[in-house]
């Protein structure tokens, strides 16, 4: 299978199993388009985190085909994966901040890994911390931050490099409703700049806040897509997106 024209990610009959266990994800076929906003929902144990792991390249599928940024990931060598990961932003459910680095250094990490000069790191990181309301906590270590503050640092780290694909696992679980809405607007703004956003959530209020978003509903490892809209979405939903999908 080749990538769907204009798509940023496409899954074709993807399955995932850990070791010799039964499949946790089965026959996943869907396509993500640039600038689109997707909510990933499903009961606990439905496979949301496993699907996100496939999306942020922490796992390789057991079967099926995945294309990302126009490239077949199944045949891509391991050494080439960092180039893809640098185009992703990830908000982990457990934040995964580096414990001995300050909030500033945690947010700066993607830029430093990508080789951005130190002089060009300070301003965007400071502004991003200011935007998530943590400018005054820039030098604080994660252990001294509250859960909500840590989550905001994790989100700032995920979006600082303006990724092509943002994957967030329960990104608003530890913040108050106002901050949740504010963060959602940030994701929405990134979408307008061409970033594809996939947010895994249980929060119904969040789903209501963005009624135009596409819903990916997982049940027992399978994606419910009765109309085929996730695999072959109506062209109008992504036609205006800026990304052209010419490869990584």
């Amino acid at each position: 299978m080749t990538a769907v024209q204009g798509s940023i990610v496409s899954f074709d009959n993807v399955g995932l199993r850990y070791g010799t266990e039964p499949e946790v994800l089965s026959d996943l076929s869907f396509t993500l388009f640039p600038g689109c906003f997707y909510f990933l929902t499903g009961a606990s144990g439905a496979g949301k985190t496993s699907l996100l792991k496939l999306l942020y390249l922490a796992q390789r599928p057991s079967r099926g085909a995945i294309h990302m940024f126009g490239t077949d990931l199944i045949t891509t060598s391991r050494d080439d994966l960092p180039r893809f990961r640098r185009r992703l932003g990830v908000v982990f459910q457990d934040f995964r901040l580096v414990g001995h680095l300050s909030a500033f250094d945690n947010v700066a990490l993607p830029l430093r890994i990508a080789g951005v000069k130190e002089a060009d790191v300070i301003r965007p990181v400071s502004e991003m911390l200011d935007w998530v309301g943590l400018a005054h906590r820039a030098r604080a270590l994660p252990a001294t931050l509250s859960g909500g503050e840590q989550q905001r640092v994790a989100i700032a780290r995920a979006v600082i490099g303006r990724p092509d694909l943002l994957v967030a696992d329960e990104p608003t679980g530890n913040v108050d409703p106002d901050m949740a809405l504010r963060l959602l607007r940030l994701f929405e703004a990134l979408g307008r700049l061409g970033t594809t956003v996939v947010v895994a959530t249980h929060d119904v209020q969040l789903l209501k806040a963005l009624p135009d978003s596409l819903i990916m509903r997982l049940t027992k490892g399978r994606l419910l897509d009765p109309t085929g809209a996730l695999r072959y979405p109506p062209r109008a939903s992504y036609a205006a997106a800026p990304w052209t999908g010419t490869g990584a």
């Binding site: 180039r83 700066a108 990508a114 965007p124 502004e127």
Partner: protein, 310 residues
């Protein structure tokens, strides 16, 4: 603010160095408190001493060989003293007439007596036991087997009791012993290098396990294996340079102290074990090799651990 902040500059998409303080901070180290610098210091010190011994023994053997390479001893083995003395004089004349002979020195009888004194006791041992007449001969070229045979043939034509020996042949067991000690030193250096690698491997693996969470985060944020390996290499390099400098300093100090003690013996043979510039360069290469081995070991250890990540 209602929109995300702008990002200054273009993000480089290729794999680039993740360096500087920011990278070093990912693997915080309590330098000196860890065992690696001390292990490397001990290994480098022992390697320096072993290499010093190997070089010194090599120089000593070389010096003795070059001194004795053209030297032969002629013995006239004749029981009758008068006949022996006459044959010795004739042998000296024949030798002086040979173009390959540079110098001839008949060994005085008193010197011969003093040579056998430790075994035969004081007094005129020569009166009771017929000692052979000895002649030290210095050739203008190497005293190889063919040359020794030629001289012996020349002498035996007139003096059947004459026997010619290359002096270097007499020291062959000593050379063999020195050579064995040199190989032993080289073997020790190899074992120390392996032990150092093992220590660095353990330390790198332990550091990797301790910082696995940070490594995984960097990996998932797009850190390439060699970027991550470089962080650990940098950390190990600091330890290795510290340990190697200390080890070289201690090793050199001990070596100079021992050399000083041997120099006090004022023995000609021992003086041949001194170092030239080339030898000092070899000694200087030991800590550099130690650091390189440590870096390579750290790299291989971390890279193989990273390979197990997706």
């Amino acid at each position: 603010m209602t929109k995300p902040p702008p990002i200054s500059g273009e993000l480089e998409r290729g794999v680039v160095a993740f360096g500087g303080r920011a990278a070093a901070d990912l693997v915080p180290r309590r330098r000196v408190a860890g065992p690696v610098p001390w292990v490397i210091a001990i290994m480098i010190m022992l390697s320096t001493l072993a290499a010093g011994a190997a070089l010194s023994l090599g120089n000593l053997a070389g010096s003795a060989r070059s001194e004795l390479s053209g030297a032969v001893t002629v013995q006239v083995i004749e029981a009758d003293r008068q006949s022996r003395d006459a044959q010795a004089v004739r042998a000296a004349e024949l030798l002086l007439g040979d173009p390959a002979v540079a110098a001839v020195r008949p060994v005085p009888r008193e010197e011969l007596v003093s040579l056998v004194e430790p075994w035969l006791g004081t007094g005129d041992a020569g009166a009771a036991i017929p000692l052979p007449a000895l002649i030290d001969v210095q050739l203008s070229r190497a005293a190889d087997n063919a040359e020794v045979l030629r001289l012996e043939t020349l002498l035996k034509a007139e003096i059947p009791t004459a026997r010619v020996d290359a002096q270097s042949a007499l020291l062959q067991p000593v050379y063999a012993a020195l050579s064995a000690l040199q190989y032993l030193s080289l073997g020790l250096i190899a074992l120390l290098a392996i032990a150092s690698s093992a220590a660095v491997w353990l330390a790198s693996r332990s550091a990797f396990v301790n910082h696995r969470e940070s490594v995984e985060i960097v990996h998932l944020l797009g850190g390439a294996d060699r970027q991550i390996a470089r962080i650990f290499q940098r950390s190990v390099a600091m330890d290795a340079v510290l340990g190697a400098t200390l080890g070289l300093g201690l090793g050199t100090a001990v070596m100079l102290l021992v050399a000083n003690r041997f120099a006090a013996l004022d023995s000609g043979m021992v003086a041949g074990g001194g170092f030239d510039w080339g030898d000092w360069l070899v000694i200087a290469a030991i800590p550099l090799s130690g650091v390189l081995i440590a870096l390579m070991t750290a790299r291989i250890t971390v890279m193989s651990a990273l390979r197990r990540m997706p």
